[in-house]
């Protein structure tokens, strides 16, 4: 165990270009996923929080349940959709980073939307009458609430980023773990573990952990700063 750990550290100290490329792709895929999922999930979650419509409770339960959606299931579904024999086969997107972003977006949107709904709904209780007195439409309410909760919503977005970075099932299936093209940190870890190269897996795992920790540290300080600034 200790030897494996020491070896992992020595591997990290001489990060080669291949590892850097893997980390960079992970980062790009996560960034694209989170951007897309945020653009969809934030307004959607806020809408569910604010609007009253039949089936709202069902949508809420559905969103919460989808947070725990197994990534492999999403992977298989997106695979079948993007496969040449599937409905979007002629786009030829399978085994590409774009496919990985699509699958992960499906995974991350419910997560961000569900957390957003929770955060925005709490704020909505405070503001509802006030907004009505200002004759806000649904759109205005959603926009104002999202803006007001922006620093809390960082947590929701971050949860999405964490899931995207650490998820392996979906990207493995739709990305194919192709070296130099769709190999990201998690699939590389899976492969190196399969090859019995535990130090390299551990080294990549540490990079992944560091990245996620850095992200969360940044978010933590952003929130502290926001609390001091906006009360």
């Amino acid at each position: 165990m200790l030897n494996t750990l020491l070896e992992a550290f020595s591997l990290l100290s001489r990060l080669d270009s291949q590892v850097v490329a893997i980390v960079w792709l992970s980062f790009k895929v996560a960034l694209a996923t989170v951007t897309l999922a945020t653009l969809i999930g934030l307004p959607f979650g806020a809408l569910v929080a604010v609007a009253s419509f039949p089936g709202r409770g069902a949508v809420t339960v559905f969103l919460n349940a989808m947070m725990g959606l197994p990534s492999v299931v999403v992977g298989v579904i997106v695979y079948l959709i993007l496969s040449r024999s599937g409905p979007f086969g002629d786009m030829g997107l399978l085994y590409s980073p774009t496919a990985m972003v699509m699958a992960q977006t499906v995974l991350v949107v419910p997560l961000i939307a569900a957390l957003t709904r929770q955060i925005v709904e709490d704020a909505w209780r405070t503001y509802a009458t006030e907004f009505r007195s200002m004759h806000f439409s649904l759109r205005h309410s959603v926009a104002a609430l999202l803006y007001d909760c922006r620093y809390s919503l960082v947590v929701a977005v971050l949860a999405g980023a964490g899931r995207s970075l650490s998820e392996v099932g979906a990207v493995m299936i739709v990305g194919g773990n192709i070296e130099g093209y769709t190999r990201v940190m998690t699939t590389a870890i899976a492969l190196e573990t399969a090859k019995g190269d535990l130090p390299l897996s551990l080294a990549l795992g540490m990079v992944l952990l560091t990245l996620v920790l850095l992200l969360n540290t940044g978010a933590y300080h952003l929130r502290l700063w926001a609390m001091r600034k906006y009360g």
Binding site: T35, Y95, I178, E179, Y181, L191, A194, K195, G196
Partner: protein
């Protein structure tokens, strides 16, 4: 502030659309975990890519899955090791132009102590009988891979139904994870030599039986039938098949060694 966010979003979208674009020509080869995990592709593909400028994207799966991937049209070339399944694939019209590429051999790997005394024989079927009679577990791939179907053929030859045996464990995983399991359980397994040689977490495992002619493990390559899947990159795919069965390709395969040991032996008929 709002302006800044807008620019950020535009930047992201541009990156999303442009960042993953791949200019060079490429083909998808669905292949087996054994070829990928043994490091063979990492060794031979740069040479092919440098020669032709065609990027080869390898998706490593079990042989059964690799053939399914070809059947669905999600690969241009299939490169696997299960002759009966390959012949069926071609006969059904999913693949064309199947060619022999190389072979390696399977080895039985087990704990050094060799409680089931497999080391005492050179006959693979006898080895399987001894494992079934012994107390140590046997870890099977259980994933419909080429290695898995070879293993099942040996059980059949030995007239043993392994599923009736409590210590028969199906990993449902690639060769590497299966070796990890065997190492952890102190059990036996059937592995291709390539993966075994490049496998690092051996712990107490070693080869207990090898060299029987029946352990011969041939690899074949074929193009996914463009008549069934018109988008298949026929030209680039054929360039790959031609190269890997060419003298240059074959020599490159033969030159791949781990610790001085050759992993794959060329077998293309030129």
């Amino acid at each position: 502030m709002a302006n800044f966010f807008r620019q950020l979003i535009i930047f992201f979208c541009a990156m999303l659309l442009g960042g993953f674009a791949q200019a060079e020509e490429s083909i998808v080869v669905s292949s087996t975990t054994s070829t990928e995990q043994s490091g063979l592709f990492g060794y031979i593909l740069p040479r092919f890519e440098a020669k032709t400028g065609i990027k080869v994207k390898v998706v490593a799966l079990g042989t059964g899955q690799a053939l399914d991937t070809g059947r669905r049209g999600d690969a241009d070339v299939v490169f696997v090791h299960d002759r009966p399944a390959e012949d069926k694939f071609v006969a059904e019209g999913w693949g064309v132009d199947r060619r022999d590429v190389m072979y390696n051999d399977f080895v039985i790997v087990g704990p050094k102590a060799d409680a089931s005394k497999v080391k005492g024989t050179n006959d693979v079927v006898e080895g399987f009988r001894r494992m079934a009679a012994g107390s140590a577990p046997f870890v099977s791939r259980g994933d419909k891979s080429g290695t898995n179907s070879a293993e099942l053929r040996f059980w059949k030859d030995a007239n043993i139904d392994p599923k009736a045996w409590a210590d028969y464990k199906e990993a449902g995983a690639g060769m590497g994870p299966t070796l990890n399991m065997a190492a952890a359980m102190g059990g036996y397994t059937l592995s291709d030599r390539g993966t075994w040689l490049s496998f690092k977490n051996r712990q107490d495992l070693e080869i207990v039986l090898a060299g029987d002619k029946r352990l011969f493990n041939p690899y074949g390559v074929m193009l996914v039938n463009p008549a069934k899947h018109p988008h298949v990159k026929k030209e680039a795919g054929m360039k790959f098949i031609d190269w890997i069965t060419s003298r240059d390709g074959q020599e490159t395969i033969a030159a791949y060694k781990i610790n001085g040991e050759q992993l794959f032996f060329p077998s293309a008929k030129n």
